[in-house]
């Protein structure tokens, strides 16, 4: 599965969040992720943008929430690129994609609820994008919300790296899907390991994680069988 991350930020180079995310996305070996920054200086090449959409299966909008909405360049991108006859309407070619949102907030996430300072939930505020996905017949993925990046602790940032990488590349968000994602990541890292010791170490780790995965699946299967017999 190929993922396109469309990044919109008025002051991209000064954004700690965006620099962090870019760095983490670039670290992923063998991943099929395209990082696409909307250039604030250049005018849009609509055909090139449309070609990018055709070539990718999962489309991500990544942006800071600006006045409860998209930054202006991404809003303009929608008007210019998602045209009738291409994105929707007769002969449209974009149906069936997955659509994700990576949104960063300057306020704490728990203020985005009834009674909080921001009053409305993120789900409510992102409704226009959900409507867009509906119109384009794209499957809307649960957004990844990054709140107050600059105040995150080291362990929160470590968790964010994994959450973000999974958001770009994971198909199945269940625990089974997560286990398979880590097994695949380990296999890639074994391939790229720079020493034999590291390779052996990672291989034994992968084998143990795989054994646990298999044993857990078998146990669940047996338990389900007995449950069914009892009921």
């Amino acid at each position: 599965m190929k993922t396109l991350v469309i990044v919109a930020h008025p002051d991209y180079k000064q954004s700690g969040t965006q620099q962090f995310l870019l760095h983490q996305a670039l670290q992923m070996q063998d991943s099929q992720v395209t990082w696409h920054l909307l250039d604030n200086e250049k005018s849009l090449d609509v055909e090139a943008e449309q070609q990018l959409l055709r070539e990718h299966q999962r489309i991500i909008f990544q942006f800071p929430l600006y006045w409860y909405s998209l930054p202006a360049n991404l809003r303009q991108w929608q008007d210019d690129v998602l045209t009738r006859g291409f994105a929707y309407g007769t002969n449209a070619v974009l149906a069936g994609k997955e659509f994700g949102i990576v949104v960063s907030l300057g306020e704490p996430l728990n203020e985005y609820q009834a009674g909080g300072r921001e009053h409305y939930t993120i789900s409510e505020l992102l409704k226009p994008l959900q409507a867009m996905a509906n119109k384009l017949q794209w499957q809307y993925l649960k957004p990844l919300v990054i709140s107050q990046f600059e105040y995150m602790t080291d362990s929160q940032r470590l968790a964010l790296v994994t959450n973000y990488q999974q958001y770009l590349t994971l198909n199945d968000t269940s625990f089974a899907g997560q286990q398979q994602w880590f097994i695949k990541q380990l296999t890639t890292r074994i391939k790229h390991a720079d020493t034999e010791i590291k390779k052996a170490q990672l291989t034994t780790i992968r084998d143990q994680i795989q054994d646990n995965f298999d044993e857990l699946a078998e146990l669940r299967w047996t338990v389900e069988l007995i449950r069914d017999e009892e009921e």
């Binding site: 968790a159 790296v161 994994t162 880590f182 780790i205 143990q208 857990l216 007995i226 009892e230």
Partner: protein, 59 residues
């Protein structure tokens, strides 16, 4: 359970000796995943024992 203890120990060593943030994140993620696997293995085998040990079906 010895192999599980070994798994966590080796992952903790890798986490402690890694410098790159991305690698540390990966090992931290693996530790969390392995701990969740161990917890679920324990719970599922407990449930299996409980369901097999069913006096109402003796007879």
């Amino acid at each position: 359970m010895e192999e599980q203890a070994w798994l966590i120990t080796i992952l903790q060593d890798l986490l402690a000796t890694s410098i790159k943030l991305e690698e540390r994140a990966f090992y931290q993620g693996l530790i969390d995943l392995a701990n969740e696997q161990i917890k679920r293995l324990d719970q599922s085998s407990g449930e299996l024992d409980g369901r097999i040990w069913n006096p109402s079906r003796w007879g």
